[in-house]
């Protein structure tokens, strides 16, 4: 420590002039360089006092070079202020040479200058539209945001870093219009991600994830969120076409942090969060449960003919299942909550440590983290350890080599109780018998006690290893450089489990190992040439990928003792072994040309050729071109609207593909144990053709046009992007139903056409920016309209494209169309009810009025896809406090974002015994307004009730306090802040059930989404 101060002292005193010059010309407002602050501190303690000095100067705008009037000039930590006049000139008195002056004005970054021995200090203020000079990652390279012609968005990660989540994808939920991230309800789970609309029917729906230039198809839980510097999302075909056949669903580029030149940063952060369900939904307790049995027998429990008067002669106890009665036939007195027994408050503990730094020759980042998320359901535990090393060195002036590597070790040991069964078991039954042992079959049926899973010995590990080695060579030709990169992924998954109660209580133990390895080998040649105001960049790529996967499972059943568990499978009487493996290869070339004229006229053209082993015999290679252009209107001399700072129009058109899955064009003959001939014969194996081959199978082709307008108005008070896109996907991979007479029920083939049109809007506003209080907002809006245009052609000759009703596909409707019966209330006691139906069943609308209810009475009821998504982020800063509030909403209007949510009961053996969720609004004769059907026998047709999933959620709230001043300086910290945050704090919705976003309604097999509160701190040394 002392050494560092001494060194700093020598540096500052000897190089005083250099230091002042450097700080005066520093463009970045984040001017907390160690040199300056230590300089101030050291010289203040020296206690020099002098007479007031008068300082004058001029403040100009960096871009226009014109003077800025009204700029506030303040003495830092003092009270003296001045303001620049209409010529940008100011005059201010300062006490001594060590004073720091602050220059601030709305729309510009604050400048700090130390007076030193200068009397005339001129300052250049930089417009804080720093986002335009920002660089974004596009495929195979980076580009200045101002020069981008496709739809590329950098996600705002900063406002969500303090949220109580463990997964990278959670940081993206609702923050980028067009990027749709789902909800999770399990510890350590990765939510579903999609970009824009669904443009496939049966093909791959995954977004392509690129990590540091290497394709990454491991789980996103393996990436430590704190190691990530930025995430860029490529949305339209002209931006994604560089990734060819894997890009139709959009691309997410993740870039990991690297060391920054200058002072070493040692960063530590720690967070503790609690998790509870965000809805109070539980199974029924004793009284409600007994009531539900009574209502299943309403025809006996109540008096005819209207069944609203209780029948005094009704004996409820006789109808209750025998497992809930004692030897004398009385009801057991219990009211046990299995739900409370199997759950607890969840918690997340997360600790991160990183060391980074660098010089201009080498930069490095080393980090490690420990995360533990014990879920709400007992034994749903997720533990993760990560380590990372990113090193880059400029070995010679023409060679830069680097390494990005990480290892992640995930531990998900422990088997949670089967949550469906927890909700199913009656409150009259205790898990333990009189001796305190767990009952194996509490219902005396084959449902085993869900709590038995606690004693299962589970070893569930996932290990991820990633290493990307790259070298960047400046070739002797000026502007020509060659980059070679070799990225590897290696994964090891182990699942070993032994459970005495598996295999019908004879005991089962198993060991499963999966190994996966892939490499991505890319060769990139880049050429930059500037001719006057024209600048060209050409990129040529040649690469290959290979992926190998192997899986082995050995298991045994019939153990008399499971003491050694899965480590000694020989103790089982029956032993089994299975294995499988697959391999894929890809080979691709890409050429790209970027042209820009003064950053005013922009043009990009790309061409990619993709070959994939999984493509069918006759279609091994695909070509994917794209073209896009941009026009920075605000740079034109004729553009003189002074309230518009920046206006850029861009259009793009491209073709991207969606790969077929490996082996899907081949016929698959399945082999299995088939038959035993005669008594005492041995097992004979049989083979069966399970799928037909299709040598003409092609990848899906998505052709898209995108138009975007980027604007910055009112001196950067308001900025945003509005985009419109229109994509057409043809050759959709789809398992078309074929008549079963062929021996197959479907065949994978390319059909039809699917359109997606949409609009996205993103607005950022600086509402208030006065001195100590700042308020900014960000609004995102996205709407996607999906429509099936063509399917198989016109086979029935009626001149119109045919629908595929049994596959749920209709021309002119979205893929998510709901085609079903329309429910119109419930049949009441005493109604004129048609045959096949009874009181308590749904009344189905006879659409065609023919007097019968059958398949022809189905109509299009709406769609299960959302109508639009909207989110709003508000960020408030007051002195050292920062508060950010994020609201996320997915809306469906009346006809969209619908889903079937229909708890339904008929009187049968299971419904009398099972438990269901509390508070379900079932029909009964004395409650005729009930919403959900409950009847004595089943109806002929039992359609679902479609309900709206629209919701508004207070998804993230974060309040942080950043320490500054003497405390920080005395402890020699670069940064210290503490925060509290909350996630999913409130949800406003009409949806009945677990959660609208996870699409789980009033069913036993749902799980709650979590509401979490967390507290933590970040400190940087």
């Amino acid at each position: 420590m002392k050494y560092r101060i001494l060194l700093k002292g020598i540096v500052t005193i000897t190089f005083l002039q250099v230091a002042i010059l450097t700080t005066a010309t520093t463009a970045n407002a984040n001017n907390k360089s160690g040199v300056t602050t230590v300089l101030n501190k050291k010289l203040w303690f020296a206690g020099i006092s002098q007479a007031d000095i008068s300082i004058t100067g001029k403040v100009i705008d960096e871009k226009t070079k014109s003077p800025i009037p009204g700029v506030s000039v303040k003495v830092k930590n003092g009270t003296t202020t001045a303001v620049t006049d209409e010529n940008g000139l100011y005059k201010i008195s300062v006490p001594n040479e060590q004073t720091v002056l602050l220059f601030s004005y709305i729309g510009y970054d604050v400048e700090e200058v130390t007076v030193g021995n200068l009397k005339n200090i001129n300052v250049v203020l930089k417009s804080s539209q720093a986002n335009l000079d920002e660089v974004v990652v596009v495929g195979y390279g980076t580009q200045k945001k101002a020069d981008v012609t496709g739809s590329v968005v950098r996600a705002n990660l900063d406002d969500f870093r303090n949220a109580p989540t463990t997964n990278v994808a959670n940081l993206l939920q609702g923050t980028v219009p067009g990027l749709n991230v789902g909800q999770v309800n399990r510890a350590g789970a990765t939510p579903g991600i999609s970009i824009r609309g669904q443009n496939t029917l049966g093909g791959n729906q995954n977004v392509l994830i690129i990590l540091d230039g290497v394709q990454y198809n491991g789980s996103l839980t393996s990436i430590n969120p704190d190691d990530i510097a930025s995430i860029d999302v490529l949305k339209d075909a002209s931006a994604t076409a560089v990734y060819g056949a894997q890009a139709a669903n959009g691309v997410i580029l993740i870039t990991s942090r690297k060391g920054a030149i200058g002072r070493t940063r040692i960063s530590f952060s720690s967070q503790y969060a609690t998790q509870k369900p965000n809805i109070d939904l539980k199974p029924m307790t004793r009284d409600e449960y007994l009531d539900h049995i009574k209502y299943l027998y309403y025809d006996q429990a109540f008096l005819a003919p209207d069944f609203t008067q209780p029948n005094p002669a009704f004996d409820l106890v006789s109808k209750v299942d025998a497992s809930m009665k004692d030897a004398q036939g009385n009801l057991l007195p219990n009211d046990f909550s299995w739900y409370d027994e199997a759950t607890k408050t969840g918690a997340i503990v997360d600790n991160q440590l990183s060391v980074s730094g660098g010089t201009d020759k080498i930069n490095y980042l080393l980090s490690g983290s420990l995360t533990r998320n014990s879920g709400f359901i007992k034994n749903d535990v997720f533990k993760r350890k990560t380590i990372r090393a990113n090193i880059e060195t400029k070995a010679t002036d023409w060679l830069t080599i680097g390494l990005q590597s990480f290892g992640t070790f995930v531990n998900e040991d422990g088997v949670e109780p089967n949550f469906v069964d927890i909700n199913l078991i009656s409150p009259l039954i205790l898990p333990w018998d009189n001796n305190g042992n767990l009952k194996i079959n509490p219902f005396n049926t084959n449902v085993t006690n869900p709590l038995l899973n606690y004693q299962a010995d589970d070893y569930d590990r996932h290990n991820y290893f990633f290493a990307n080695v790259y070298g960047n060579v400046q070739l002797p030709v000026k502007g020509l450089s060659y980059k070679i990169s070799f990225g590897n992924n290696y994964r090891l998954d182990f699942k070993n489990i032994s459970n005495m109660y598996d295999a019908n209580l004879t005991g089962q133990a198993s060991k499963e190992t999966t190994t996966y390895y892939d490499y991505t080998f890319d060769n990139l040649l880049t050429y930059n040439k500037v001719i006057g105001k024209h600048s060209f960049t050409g990129t040529l790529l040649y690469g290959a990928i290979e992926r190998d996967n192997s899986y082995t499972r050995a298991y045994a059943t019939g153990f008399s003792r499971l003491t050694l568990g899965y480590d000694n499978l020989q103790q089982g009487t029956n032993r089994f072994a299975i294995s499988n493996a697959w391999k894929e290869t890809l080979n691709y070339q890409m050429f790209r040309l970027n042209y820009n004229y003064e950053s005013k006229y922009l043009f990009t053209g790309t061409l990619r050729r993709d070959g994939f082993s999984g493509f069918a015999e006759n279609n091994k290679y695909g070509i994917f071109p794209s073209i896009s252009a941009g026009w920075d209107i605000s740079k034109e001399s004729f553009f003189k609207v002074n309230w518009v700072d920046n206006l850029k129009l861009r259009v793009g058109y491209g073709i991207a593909g969606n790969q077929t899955t490996r082996y899907s064009s081949l016929a698959n003959v399945g082999v299995s144990a088939a038959y035993v001939f005669g008594d005492g014969g041995s097992t004979q194996f049989g083979q069966q053709v399970n799928s037909l081959s299709n040598p003409d199978l092609r990848w899906e082709r998505t052709t898209g046009a995108n138009m975007g307008l980027e604007f910055t108005l009112f001196k950067n008070r308001l900025s945003g992007v509005i985009e419109y896109y229109d994509t057409k996907t043809t050759d959709l991979l789809y398992s078309v139903n074929i008549p079963v007479v062929t021996g197959f029920s479907n065949i994978l083939t390319n059909i039809g056409q699917l359109n997606n049109k949409g609009i996205e809007l993103s607005l950022n506003s600086k509402n208030i920016n006065s001195g100590e209080f700042k308020w900014t907002s960000a609004l995102n809006f996205a709407r996607n309209v999906n429509k099936v245009v063509k399917l198989l052609g016109d086979l029935n000759g009626d001149g119109v494209e045919d629908d595929l009703p049994q596959s749920g596909l209709f021309v002119g409707q979205p893929t998510a169309v709901i085609y079903d019966y329309q429910v119109n209330g419930i049949w009441q006691v005493g109604d004129q009810i048609p045959t096949g139906y009874s009181p308590g069943t749904y009344r189905i609308v006879d659409q065609n009025g023919d007097g019968t209810i059958n398949a022809s009475d189905r109509i299009v009821l709406g769609s299960s896809a959302p109508a639009y998504r909207i989110s709003l982020l508000n960020n408030f800063q007051y002195k050292n406090f920062t508060l950010s509030i994020f609201l996320n909403s997915v809306q469906g209007g009346d006809k969209s974002y619908l889903a079937g949510n229909t708890p339904r009961l008929i009187r049968d053996d299971n419904s009398i015994r099972n438990n269901y969720l509390s508070g379900i609004d079932f029909w009964s004769p004395d409650h005729p307004d009930g919403k959900y059907p409950r009847s004595i026998v089943s109806a002929t047709l039992n359609p679902p009730l479609f309900q709206n999933r629209s919701f508004v959620r207070l998804q993230d709230v974060s309040l942080s306090y950043k320490f500054s001043g003497k405390l920080i300086e005395r402890m020699k910290l670069q940064n210290l802040n503490v925060f509290v945050s909350g996630r999913n704090l409130a949800t406003w919705t009409k949806w009945d059930g677990w959660d609208p976003e996870t699409n789980q309604g009033l069913t036993n097999d749902g799980r709650p989404v979590f509401k979490g509160y967390s507290v933590g701190l970040n400190v940087t040394f």
Binding site: T396, W398, L399, V473, Q474, P476, Y482, N523, Y542, A544, S579, N580, A581, W582, K583, T585, L586, N587, F612, S613, G614, K620, Y663, L666, A667, N668, V669, V671, A674, Y675, F677, Q684, F685, G686, Q687, Q688, V689, L692, V736, I738, P739, V740, V741, T742, G743, F744, I747, T749, L792, L795, T835, G836, N854, A855, I906, D908, V937, S938, T940, L941
Partner: protein, 199 residues
Amino acid sequence: MKKITFSIIAATTILFFSCKKSFLDEKPLDFLSTTNAYITVKDFDAAVNNLYSRVRSEFYNSGEQRPFDYVFGCDLVFDGQPATTRHTNMVAAYSPLSTEIPLIHWTSLYKIIAESNTIIGRIPASELAPADRTLMEARAKFFRGMAFRTLAYLYGGVPLNTTEVVTPKRSILITRAPISARRKLADGPDRNWLKSITK
């Protein structure tokens, strides 16, 4: 100098590097395909074993309900646990739209027919000896005849499918074959085959 040497090395490496033509060939590692699974006697034995298995499944052990359809599927039946998978109510249980009783038997029996057609269709291209060819063809035709007979028993007139389906045919017009054609399939040359080898 170092720069030029390095670039020459790099350039030559790049020029010689490119993937082999066979880099993208797809060979499944853990499953068989029709191109390599109908060649030897053992392959055809396996295919026939599967036919036995499918018949056993359809009539005896596909579950606790469908095999009993042959017993319960009649006009007078009452099930104490009403459900459409258990013949109550009958209109719903036997409706052509039902994905339960009618569809499950239909699918199962036509699969037997399709597998038989595959065996018969692939015998010519196989490496079987003449005696084995006769044997395999006879076995396949027996199962095919049995399946058609059962289909007629359950559904009446049904489409006759006597060739292996290799290419995807999404729109097959389905016609019910008249009784004479079906009889011919069951009584005709197939029956004589059986007679000749079971003597």
